[in-house]
């Protein structure tokens, strides 16, 4: 599990260097480039590789920050929360039950509007034990005021971590942001990444400035007093307003990122072969890899199938998904998570999407699939089966008000 001391296949190019690195190493580079001041670590697979890379960068003298190995995830998150209050840019992360151990700290971080950036190495929750990816860990904070974004590749991980700092620390927002990386499939899988140079990053990412919210003897404020029913509702309303504003700020950040780094991408979702699609598949994270291959195969056979990858789960891209999916006949949502006892016993993404598409005229049928739990592979054959079932639902041949588990022993 030890990270390689130096990345292989290193090559200097204009505006940065090209390196063959994993998602975890890509995020470690983002931390270095963002000149993060305080980082806290606690071991749990698979996210902890990012901290192995960070600690090596520090010991090699490539990166200067306070690096604290906490005694629990709860302390890990609390320490950076307080460092953030005195004006330090911070980074933290966890996986699976470790993320849950920090749950109280995550609630207050959002409540306090601390612009922390965290990496989630998505992992199945215990019990039974599993190292592989499931999205229920990160999704658990979805209603607390955390912004949540899923990425597909190491390049996107690096880019999105920089964007996350820019958005989180924007004074119009001041909300924490979690960058979700699928365990193993992204945390430990390498790809060629353009690691940008410092000057470009500096032109994109301003210094973290708390302004009059800074906890300092020159600004002797009281943070987080007991507000009770007198004021809590107004304070919650402010968080709601910040999350609403995040849509615009995220869009701005992606536009500026595209200008500065030359990598343009649609902020909230990725549309893959969606022109003229009659059937759409929807999912998040590295699931995109087999889905894109399967979509290409099916397109080669003349089937009008497309794919929408949801990047930002919070704020949820309601308008973008309405736009992308209002003309298709049926949608298959592939959740790498579960929502036991929820409507239609569906995955979390499926039910969010149902709500988002409810007002759409000629609403497409929405079928929920659960696949790839605990890190089980979702292969192209699975995806082709799913697309076939979605086509059946489109023609009314299959019940769309249920949830189908794919690749499971019955």
């Amino acid at each position: 599990m030890n990270p390689p001391k130096t990345a292989t296949a290193e090559q200097i190019v204009i505006g940065g260097s090209e390196e063959l690195i994993s998602g975890s190493e890509a995020i470690a580079h983002a931390c270095r480039l963002a000149d993060v001041d305080v980082i806290t670590a606690y071991p749990i697979r698979p996210y902890d590789t990012v901290m192995q890379y960070v600690s090596q960068m520090i010991s090699d003298g490539d990166f200067d920050c306070e690096f604290i190995v906490a005694e629990s995830e709860h302390s890990q998150f609390e320490i950076v929360k307080h460092a953030s209050a005195v004006g330090a840019r911070v980074f933290v992360g966890s996986s699976g039950v470790g993320w849950f151990y920090a749950f109280e700290a995550m609630a207050v971080t959002a409540g306090l509007r601390m612009p922390m950036v965290a990496m989630v190495g998505n992992r199945a929750l215990d019990d039974p034990g599993a190292f592989g990816v499931e999205h229920n860990d990160a999704l658990a904070v979805r209603d607390l005021g955390w912004m949540l974004v899923w990425v597909e590749t190491p390049q996107e991980a690096l880019d999105t971590a920089l964007i996350a700092y820019r958005v989180a620390e924007d004074k119009r927002i001041f909300l924490p942001c979690a960058v979700s990386c699928d365990g193993a499939f992204l945390t430990h899988s390498q790809a060629i990444v353009n690691v940008p140079d410092q000057a470009t990053v500096d032109s994109f990412l301003p210094r973290y400035d708390r302004g009059d919210k800074l906890l300092h003897p020159d600004n002797p404020i009281t943070i987080a007093p007991q507000a009770n029913e007198d004021w809590v509702m107004e304070i919650r309303r402010q968080s709601d307003a910040a999350m609403r504003r995040a849509r615009g700020v995220i869009t701005e950040a992606y536009e500026d990122f595209g200008d500065k780094f030359g990598r343009e991408q649609e902020p909230f979702i990725e549309r893959y072969m969606m022109e003229d699609a009659e059937i759409a598949l929807v999912g998040m994270g590295t699931l995109a890899l087999p889905v894109k291959v399967a979509v290409r195969k099916m397109r080669a056979e003349g089937r009008k199938v497309g794919f929408v990858r949801v990047r930002w789960f919070r704020p949820f891209p309601t308008e973008e998904l309405q736009d992308a999916l209002s003309d298709v006949e049926a949608v298959g949502v592939i959740d790498r998570d579960y929502g036991f006892g929820s409507s239609f016993h569906s995955g979390v993404l499926a039910n969010e999407l149902r709500a988002a598409l409810y007002p759409v005229e000629n609403q497409p049928k929405i079928v929920s699939f659960i696949a790839g739990l605990g890190g089980r592979e979702v292969n192209t054959d699975n995806v082709i089966v799913i697309a076939g079932m979605v086509a059946d639902a489109a023609s009314g041949g299959m019940n769309d008000q249920d949830t189908y588990w794919i690749g499971v022993r019955e």
């Binding site: 003298g61 005694e71 953030s84 005195v86 330090a88 109280e104 300092h216 007198d230």
Partner: protein
Amino acid sequence: MSDVITETLDDYIKTQVLEAWKGPKTVPEQEYFTSGHRTCQGCESALVMKLMAKAAGPRTIILGSTGCMYVANTTYLSTPWSVPWMHTQLGSSGSAATGTAAGLRALMRKGKMEKERINVIAFCGDGGGADMGLSAISAALQHTEYNLLILMYDNESYANTDIQVSGSSPYGANSTFSPPGKERRIMHRRWKKNTAPMLAAGHPECKYVATVCMSYAVEAMNAVRKALSIGGPTFIHSLDPCPKGWDYDPMFSHELGELAVETGIWPLYEIEEGKIKMYGKSKRIVNGQMKRKPVQDYLLRQGRFAHFIDEDIEYFQAKTDEMWEKWLIPGVLPFSAEA
């Protein structure tokens, strides 16, 4: 290798001497914990807050863990704190102090904030410190590169939530989770945790651990000043009589603090760079210059022990005698050397 990264303790952070105050008349009048709080009449923990802030002075950041001194002290729009103050979670005093000190250190070292010694104090109650927050405090006390003080104000119960027993409640105390009933007289059978020596013994690089009681206020303030001068992480444990939780008339708070010391139930000492120094009446007890008062003088003044019968008092007395007569370091450290 960069020097910036290899440095351990920066001079500007390390050095600070807050001189001890010689007596009440030399203590400045300026307060940093002022009006606006809603603590009970006779609340000794509020006095701890006031004198702790006074001892530390204006260049201080205070982190307050959930408990009485959060809930009763910091109502929105009527904060009593005139130094910067921030809430932290019940078990997070250690993490709050660590994070604040680390943030300041990083920013000053990297030239993002003016270099200055800023005191970092996190306080917690006994529930937040001796119970839930113990692991985070333990971790904080290992970080010799950060200057911080964790002060545990011990009113011997979860007093803010209606008086429930904690690991720091005395044996047999009546609380809403340990009420004497028809079948069982003693519901709380655990002996009070020996928190300060546990932390001192377990963290040999922590330079300063002390016990205080606000009945001896100048000594307590000087403990805070020493803790903030000595460098690295430090810990102070304060015993705070609580009229509501201990069930006595608020006018007797000061007197009960004195009785806790005079009976030997609450020893006063400093553990400074590995050396134990008893002070005040505890020093006189250990030197044989003063006889301990019987524990019943203390116990029977409080409603929380009103259900005690003779055998309970005898048990309490015997356990207290053990502290002074059998322990390796009387009043501080248990174990006895094998004969």
